[in-house]
């Protein structure tokens, strides 16, 4: 029983520390994710306080955390949301993928990490954090803005793309070749299509079968169903997380609402454990060597996200100021970059430290970019227009001045981040 005592003490201390960190993050008004990661780094191997007894429990908790993260994400969306967005915004989704996944993949290839790590790092730089961005939109009072549906549309497409991307990554990590990867692609596309179709046609029936007036029963049924489907998905070489996501999409209406309320606290607990676990499995000593690359990658993919947002907003007929806001808001990366890196840690040991540093930078820079990109860009463009003696157009050519604007706004944002960190 000595092990159990040690487990309780370690786990209690860990959760208490996370709670205190979460309060600090709330007070400062930013996402607790970076603090959880840092806590994991502090506790882990080569850190200040190595955990011993509770490591196995934390590892299991981390798996459940990923499953709950994706289940709750699926519950947020209805199948008609997904299909509708896919029809109207797929072009923006493709541009988003090309502009943001390629830099990550290119860096992995240049470092000589091989194609599988390239697919993983591409995913890390591609997916914006829907959690952080939804919170930022609410905090900045921009839910009523015209560009908000465009931002959310891109997030929806990314989340939907995850349902296809994760199985492929899982298959590649398992060492199947190109042929096996293509087969997995077909299977996962088929599965996602079937689930979307069923959710659109029979969502009410499925939800009624799961429905229960008793919160306790609902909690057990939804959680049990999700874990079961996740396990079966894992068995079929489709990732567990995707199984959970599809369960979330299949549930709709009152059941989804009830399940959301019941499972949100559980999600918060296990997701925190997941971020800690990721930090635990990263040795802090590995971070300084990759810090330069992480910073470069963060700056480049900040610029590409801003470009993505501007493109998508322009397609939706939004004016220049709103286009800058769209781009700046999309910068934040977070939970899913870590989920992807967590899957791929085995293939390249330096991927974990790089992803950790990258997410730490962008989860803090993201909300700042969301707030200040537009005022800065507007000021710079009007200034540039005034500099020109012949005011021919008010629209600045994005190819020349636009990129320098992005770069300078990044620098300013980074400076703001630094000054905020020091105060």
């Amino acid at each position: 029983m000595h092990d159990l005592t040690a487990l309780l003490i370690e786990l209690g201390a860990l959760l208490l520390a996370l709670g205190i960190l979460g309060r600090i993050a709330n007070r400062l008004g930013f996402s607790p994710i970076p603090l959880y990661l840092l806590a994991g780094l502090a506790f882990g191997h080569g850190g200040l306080l190595p955990l011993g007894a509770s490591e196995a429990f934390v590892a299991t908790g981390a798996e459940i955390g990923v499953i709950l993260l994706l289940l709750l994400l699926g519950l947020e969306y209805t199948a008609s949301d997904l299909v509708g967005t896919l029809k109207t915004q797929y072009v923006a989704g493709i541009v988003d993928f090309v502009l943001n996944a390629l830099p990550g993949a290119a860096v992995a290839l240049l470092l000589g990490w091989g194609p599988v790590a390239a697919v993983a790092l591409g995913g890390v730089t591609w997916i914006s954090s829907s959690g952080v961005i939804a919170k930022v939109l609410g905090d900045l009072g921009r839910l009523g803005n015209r560009e908000t549906p465009v931002i959310l549309g891109i997030l929806v497409l990314e989340d939907l793309a995850m349902a296809v991307y994760l199985p492929i990554l899982t298959a590649l990590l398992a060492g199947v070749g190109l042929a096996g990867g293509s087969l997995t692609l077909l299977i996962s596309l088929g599965t996602v299509s079937i689930v979307l179709f069923l959710a659109l046609r029979y969502g009410r029936v499925i939800s009624r079968a799961v429905s229960s007036d008793n919160p306790e029963m609902l909690l057990l049924v939804v959680l049990g169903l999700t874990l079961l489907v996740a396990g079966i998905a894992q068995q079929l070489q489709v990732s567990a997380a995707v199984g959970a996501f599809l369960v979330g999409i299949a549930l709709s209406g009152e059941v989804a609402k009830g399940a959301r309320n019941l499972l949100s606290p559980l999600r918060d607990l296990f997701a925190a454990v997941f971020f800690v676990f990721f930090g635990l499995s990263t040795n802090p000593a590995d971070i300084p060597p990759v810090l330069g690359i992480a910073l470069l990658l963060a700056l480049v993919t900040t610029a590409t996200k801003i470009a993505t947002g501007r493109f998508a907003a322009k397609r939706a007929g939004i004016r220049p100021a709103g286009r800058w806001r769209t781009g700046g808001t999309l910068v934040a990366r977070g939970e899913f970059s870590i989920v992807i890196a967590g899957l791929a840690v085995g293939v390249e040991p330096r991927l974990g430290p790089l992803a950790t540093a990258y997410v730490l930078i962008l989860v803090i820079l993201g909300p700042i970019a969301a707030r200040y990109t537009e005022p800065l860009a507007t000021r710079l463009t009007t200034y540039a227009t005034r500099l020109r003696t012949t005011p021919t157009t008010s629209e600045v050519a994005p190819s020349t001045v636009g990129t320098s604007d992005v770069a300078s706004s990044d620098v300013a944002a980074a400076e703001a981040a630094n000054s905020e960190a020091t105060t």
């Binding site: 994400l73 947020e76 969306y77 209805t78 949301d81 997904l82 509708g84 967005t85 829907s130 939804a134 939109l137 609410g138 009072g141 921009r142 839910l143 009523g144 803005n145 015209r146 560009e147 908000t148 549906p149 959310l152 549309g153 997030l155 929806v156 609402k257 959301r260 939004i318 004016r319 100021a321 709103g322 806001r325």
Partner: protein
């Protein structure tokens, strides 16, 4: 015919639904109904209509209170006159014997002395219904009369 306002509706996946209203005076208001029950009231910037200049988050109780204040009063209560006239709204339930029958068949006026002066439906209101007006389940009858008279009409319509 009074002017009607037409808010436009936009789905915000993962957040809820947004409704936009542009007033006669050219002001643009957005209301976001969050799936967790909160409401956000946004006032658009006259210089940049894409952007909300101010936004007010409301919890469910605050939103309900605000809605109550904003709703124009449907029918002003009659002041009690010296002859003790009162007005009451009585629903026609599915169990009412007069659901699907006409106003004339109730003989309410001659039986009770109270008058059915208007009928409210979900779609519109019918002032001064004629004796051949046919009631439907869900109608609300506006009845004016003495306390006894109105109570008698209530019993009649309910099938007592």
């Amino acid at each position: 015919m009074e002017p009607k306002a037409h808010p436009t509706r936009t789905t915000l996946p993962g957040i809820g639904t947004r409704y936009d209203l542009v007033t006669e005076g050219g002001m643009h208001i957005s209301i976001v109904a969050h799936i967790d029950g909160r409401r956000f009231l946004g006032f658009h910037d006259p210089d940049d209509d894409d952007n909300c200049k101010d936004s007010v988050p409301l919890d469910e109780a605050e939103a309900a209170a605000l809605a109550h204040l904003l709703t124009p009063a449907p029918i002003q209560p009659l002041h009690e006159l010296e002859i003790d006239l009162i007005t009451e709204q009585l629903p026609v339930s599915a169990r009412s014997p007069y659901s699907g029958r006409t106003l004339g068949e109730t003989q309410a006026r001659s039986r009770t002395g109270a008058s059915i002066v208007a009928v409210l439906r979900r779609t519109d209101a019918v002032p001064s219904p004629t004796p051949d007006f046919r009631f439907a389940t869900g109608d609300i009858l506006v009845v004016v009369g003495t306390r006894e008279g109105v109570d008698a009409v209530a019993d009649l319509i309910a099938g007592g």
